[in-house]
């Protein structure tokens, strides 16, 4: 088992990284030294300087400004996806678990169908049908992941359904919706938060991966996957243009994973022992 001090340091680090990136995303217009979309061909591939701390890309756009603005798109989209999956997954999962019977059967068969596809391939296909762009990518990734959550939430709801306190609430006249909201959600909220934290990194990789393939956020919108895709042909001459956005994704995903692991350890010491 890891020493508590080490674990605390890692959690601190993860939180610090996430705070930095959230700040970058929130205060992008204040922090960015330049307009992220301003093309200036005279500064094409400009080396780092005081004016352009990380240099410029192949169109002379300021690399640092683009990285900062991209935090908005990458992190924002991942958060929107995670939130919508949690809401939709809870709605479907709790309904299925709580109502049981035919509703349960129909919802779970629907989940089964979605779980049959390889996730990334289905997301690609959906973007192909819906068209590229931020909204459609968010929709595609959310649609390909909700079934996992619906299933987990259903099984969690099932374990709680017959608990005495839930029955007591039902007997005393609490409606199904109210019971689910007041008596099912709170006990599983912590587990859901951990799941979502561990998955946010995964969602980000999906969005950026699709954007990298040209099937996601469209250029010139600054997004880390788009930036890697823009710089891919210059890997031999200007690898740093790939390394900066790549490192940003890597660090962000790592911070979410660290935090998720730490949250799981804190909630479930038995599991942490086995790890």
């Amino acid at each position: 088992m890891r020493r508590p001090t080490f674990r605390k340091a890692m959690i601190g680090l993860a939180c610090a990284i996430m705070a930095c990136i959230a700040l970058m995303a929130a205060a992008a217009p204040l922090l960015a030294p330049h307009d992220p979309d301003a093309i200036d061909l005279e500064h094409k591939f400009a080396p780092p300087s005081l004016e352009h701390p990380l240099g410029c890309d192949h169109l002379g756009r300021d690399e640092l400004s683009r990285l900062i603005y991209a935090a908005r798109v990458s992190m924002g989209s991942a958060l929107v996806i995670a939130a919508s999956i949690l809401i939709f997954g809870f709605a479907a999962g709790a309904t299925a678990g709580f109502l049981g019977g035919r509703t349960d059967a129909v919802l779970m068969r629907l989940c089964d169908v979605f779980l049959t596809f390889p996730t990334f391939i289905l997301a690609m296909f959906m973007v192909g049908v819906l068209g590229t762009g931020l909204t459609n990518v968010i929709l595609a990734v959310a649609l390909t992941h909700w079934a996992w959550y619906a299933r987990i939430i259903r099984s969690l709801a099932l374990t709680l359904k017959h608990r005495d306190y839930v029955l007591a609430a039902r007997i005393s006249g609490s409606g199904r919706l109210k019971t689910a909201w007041l008596h099912i959600l709170p006990p599983i909220a912590a587990q859901l938060a951990i799941l979502a934290t561990l998955d946010i990194g995964h969602m980000m990789m999906h969005v950026s991966g699709l954007s990298f393939l040209g099937l996601g956020v469209t250029p010139p919108t600054p997004e880390w996957g788009v930036m890697i895709s823009d710089a891919r042909q210059f890997v031999w001459t200007h690898p740093e243009l790939i390394m900066y956005p790549g490192a940003m994704i890597f660090i962000t995903v790592m911070a979410f994973n660290l935090l998720g692991d730490a949250m799981r350890d804190a909630l479930d010491p038995a599991l942490a022992e086995a790890e």
Partner: protein
Amino acid sequence: MPLYVLKRLALLVPMLLAVSVTVFLILRLGQGDPAMSYLRLSNIPPTDEALATARQELGLDRPLPVQYADWLGKAVRLDFGRSYVTKNPVLDEILYYLPNTLILAGFSLFLTLAVSLPLGAISAVEKDKLPDQLVRGLSFFGVSIPNFFLGFVLVWIFSVKLRWLPSMGMGGLDHMILPAVTMSLMSLCINARLIRANMLENIHARFALYARARGLSERAVTGRHVLVNSLIPVITAVGMHVGELFGGAVVAESIFSWPGVGRYAVSAIYNRDYPVMQCFILIMTAIFVTMNLAVDILYAWIDPRIRLQGESK
């Protein structure tokens, strides 16, 4: 056992039917208009008249259930239509590229298993010592790095700087290493973690205690009983890895210019070449489902508890 296999095989039919309906509905309910793409890719100006003709030609003017039945009838006879771009039968084109992808995915799967097994085992045996910490560090790194970035890091290190390995195209084994590592690193790390966790759990299991009570050395207990029992859940994980590998293959093929079906599909999606998109997702899903079925059967064969449970119902 044969009964179990038959039951599982019979389940395959409704599953694939559901998949085909879903794909069909997503395509038809989406915003895109296949007739429009068809005209655009055939270089015909999309006048109202041309659109109407194209719709009739493609059968888009008929009710949805009729369209689906017609399409399914052809699909069962392996006729998936013709590409809007090349006008060749879609299945032929996909089957032309598919083997390249399967070779790459197979090699990646082999790499995943061959590397994660020793890593996970060492990590569990040397728990909390240096090797364990190194493996855990590596797995943490591996699950956080996105494959589309990893690919370029590998190109930069091994092709640009060291000039050891080629960065694009298909050829000998050396062409396969970088794309395969790109595809497998994440599942490799997840697998190593899984094996480690299973082994740590099984070290205290009753069968291990019994083996120790019989006087077996700790080495024999770990190697023969703990390790082997820890591999059973890995079989299930392999089924899931295949899905991840297909997604990874699309990315790796794009980075390393590997002439596989993923790269072909991405260009089809750019072009809105609907028959190709449809056939691609169906074939990949069919392979994925079949692999998972094989995994389930293998699992039941190894672990009798599973199949007996099924039969008692």
